[in-house]
């Protein structure tokens, strides 16, 4: 019998109650939200519970929502995959915009190590308990977190391109 959404929802709500919410089907992936303090236990539960068995971490990434209220300005998204039932789920966890932090899951999945470092590098989200949380793609000396929406794509220090010749103003690029 294939693993049904309702089955996952029942199991998870049974164990975590209020901490898991907003169950929904987004296109082809079942999605729900988890409050940030429960993320490790939810993922551990999903991995170890025999009927659920989400044993593969596909992806971890961050999202920035600068226009949301301050407690929901960052989201960390986890994609888990159960290869036996061939079922994917997506877990979202919203965190505070001023002190973005969430517990690490690198002790549950070894692959989370670099994915979390990348998320830290891009968004400055602090993964509590991560063994080596430092920048991975950018230079250590960098101070900004480039994927946050307020940082521009282009290097601000460049001198070779004069915006006037490209018809660009700060508002249209």
């Amino acid at each position: 019998m294939a693993l049904e959404n309702t089955q996952i929802q029942d199991k998870v709500t049974e164990t975590f109650g209020e901490s898991v919410m907003h169950f929904r089907q987004e296109k082809d992936i079942f999605t729900f939200e988890v409050s940030a303090d429960k993320i490790t236990s939810v993922i551990l539960f999903l991995k170890n519970e025999e009927t659920l068995n989400f044993h593969f971490l596909t992806d971890v990434c961050g999202i920035h929502y600068p226009d949301s209220n301050v407690n929901e300005q960052f989201a960390v998204v986890y994609h888990l995959h159960n290869w036996i039932e061939n079922k994917r789920i997506r877990i979202k966890s919203f965190i505070n915009g001023e002190t973005p932090e969430i517990k690490t899951i690198s002790n549950i999945f070894l692959s989370a190590n670099w994915m979390e470092r990348e998320t830290y590098d891009f968004y400055g989200i602090n993964f509590i308990g991560h063994p080596q949380l430092k920048r991975i793609l950018n230079m250590d000396e960098m101070i900004s977190f480039p994927m946050r929406k307020e940082f521009p794509l282009e290097d601000s220090g460049r001198t070779d391109k004069d915006d006037r010749f490209f018809g660009r103003t700060p508002s249209n690029c």
Partner: protein, 412 residues
Amino acid sequence: MSELLLPPEHRYAKIIKERLNEDGSELSILNLGPTHPATHGIFQNILLMDGERILDAEPTIGYIHRAFEKIAENRPFYQITPLTDRMNYCSSPINNMAWWMTLEKLLDIEVPKRAQYLRVIVMELARITDHIICNSILGVDTGAYTGFLYVFQFREKIYEIYEEICGARLTTNMGRLGGFERDWSPKAFELLNTFLEEFPACWKEFENLFERNRIFIDRTVNVGAISAESAMSYGFTGPNLRAAGVDYDVRVAEPYSSYEDFEFIVPVGKSGDTYDRFCVRNAEVWESLSIIRQALAKMPEGNEYHANVPDYYLPPKEDVYNNMEALIYHFKIVMGEVPVPVAEIYHAVEGGNGELGFYLITDGSRTPYRLHFRRPCFIYYQAYPEMIKGALLSDAIVILSSLNVIAGELDA
């Protein structure tokens, strides 16, 4: 050593100070990369060595970080394909098609069977080029330059097919939303058929050169082995995972672009060592060839090469100049006036190196709100220090090339 590459207060320096071998010899530090000729790409590894043996390794990546995800947030959807090209540049058509399929999933576009089959053919050709590069370079690293020179001729032949389809060799920027930008010319099919005739003999010879070769076996068997459990925990996918004995293949698990119509086996290895990775890739090339043949045989009649979605499919240039409707559609698409649903999509394909995923969040505007690439190389490269611990230095090079880490995909 230069302070630029290794800061003086490195933790390895302390280990060296504290530990002395029984015979009085010292440990040493070796800096491998970032531009070491043997590493095919720019990876830096600081190795702690006891003679020839590696005790510990510390990888540094990001030397060609190009900010794909940030660029993607600033580009309209159809301008993101050139970015995907440059991610895994050894098999760019797979990346292109994966991106178009993500968008088609977002917009619920049904692509005609014939276009799907054409896509399958080009994706399998790309897989062949990817594996040709990986396996022949593995040969170079174990001392056989001949194989590389020989099979690269056939890679050129695949590039000629690409050129016939889209005009470019390496960074193909192929396809459109809903299909291809033009139908494949008869010349493309002709080149493809010649390739299918000539290549198997070459690949057979290449296999014969290596598979029972004593030197090659000595260099690769039991080198860099990884167990299935630890490979899964490290997020391995693709040939590297299958070499460890797990038969996970996105083409089978979640068939896209009509892969369910074709019969092929998913080759698996046993021990997850370098030799198994080599053999799995070899076997996959044969399967790819068989898929291409099946696709050609089953190809539906007609010349349909794109879905009928004028809202999203860029019209041909001659129509834009001669036909008002086409001009309007062209304008609307290029200026981003076509509404896009607000949604979150994850679409995965079997790339050359494993599960290549696109996680796309749209907010209805002309650019993605967030586009995250699940890059297989980035995720499995973190197991590399673990795999080379206890190995010899020369093995480390062989393991790296057998993993087929593509720098562009690694650093995004």
